[in-house]
């Protein structure tokens, strides 16, 4: 999913759970900013494609696959906060709506999946998420 979708879902979660302070930072870190892991693959991308634009390059790292919960759950216990787990699960769920190959259990297993609702065109799913969460955010904001 795009950065906008993740940001809208995270903002809705933040409003719903009434998060502030450290939990607010954790929510945006694990709900949205985790996408910055894509930067780790920039050197490999430039090495292969130079400045050419290549669609559907595998930018994902295990940091935003379900396997990441292996370290996020202990982190939650350490921080005594459920926020990292909730928001990374939200992030992963959104990404699994996009039908590019994913490796949920790498590096322990090379199982590959394309996620859910793969038959629905990507644009529709993206628009549905953006519309729904924009509405939720506005509704929550006006209810305050």
């Amino acid at each position: 999913m795009t950065f906008l979708s993740h940001a809208l879902v995270t903002t809705a979660g933040v409003q719903l759970l009434d998060l502030e302070g450290t939990n607010l930072i954790l929510a945006y870190s694990f709900g949205t900013l985790v996408d910055f892991d894509h930067l780790l693959k920039l050197p490999l991308y430039f090495k292969k494609y130079k400045t050419r634009v290549k669609k559907h390059y595998n930018w994902r790292t295990p940091l935003q696959e379900p396997v990441t919960l292996l370290w996020i759950l202990p982190l939650c216990v350490y921080l005594k906060s459920y926020v990292p787990a909730i928001f990374i699960i939200g992030h992963i769920m959104l990404d699994y709506l996009v039908d590019y190959p994913k490796h949920p259990f790498f590096p322990y297993n090379n199982f590959e999946t394309k996620g859910f609702l793969t038959k629905i065109p990507q644009l529709y799913k993206e628009l549905a998420v953006i519309t729904l969460f924009l509405w939720i955010n506005i509704a929550l904001l006006s209810a305050k």
Binding site: W71, P74, V77, F106
Partner: protein, 186 residues
Amino acid sequence: MDKHSPLISKIDKLALPIAKIVHRNLGFSPNKLSVTSFVIGSFSVVAVLFQKIEIALGFLLISLIFDGLDGVVARLYNLESKTGERLELVFDRANEAMLFLALAATGYAELRLAILAIIAILLMTTLRDRTKFDPGFKRTILFLGYFVGFTLALKVIFWVNLVGFIINMLILDYSRQKLLDKGVSQ
């Protein structure tokens, strides 16, 4: 010897006289050294349970020396084996777990932190053999704990090993991506 890093080779050279004594003169095989290290490490756990921290750290130091020697003897005398590696790994993790839990049981540290530190080390251990990356902050940090508190020591162990686990995941993913980019299927 050729397959080991220059640092390990240097350590082996430095430890050669001691390794000769324990292997040739005292008849210790690498596995016997691992077992001895574990037994002495267990004495350290008992000392913690009796709240004799200085004695516990003394036993821990001796245990760590034996732990280091098993690898040196194995390399110098070509006695390396998968079983030996696994044995050492299981003994090391078991000794760490017992030590951390003993510290928690005697009130030197929080039980939550002890369990988290064990989990972080175990996570890191699951991947380190594939990447050869291990930050190494485990039992040795307990010596620091004597001065700064065992709670802080366990926090350091937790964080370093958790980050170590993440780095290991990323190293493996990067290596896989390199292969995929070259057209090698996994």
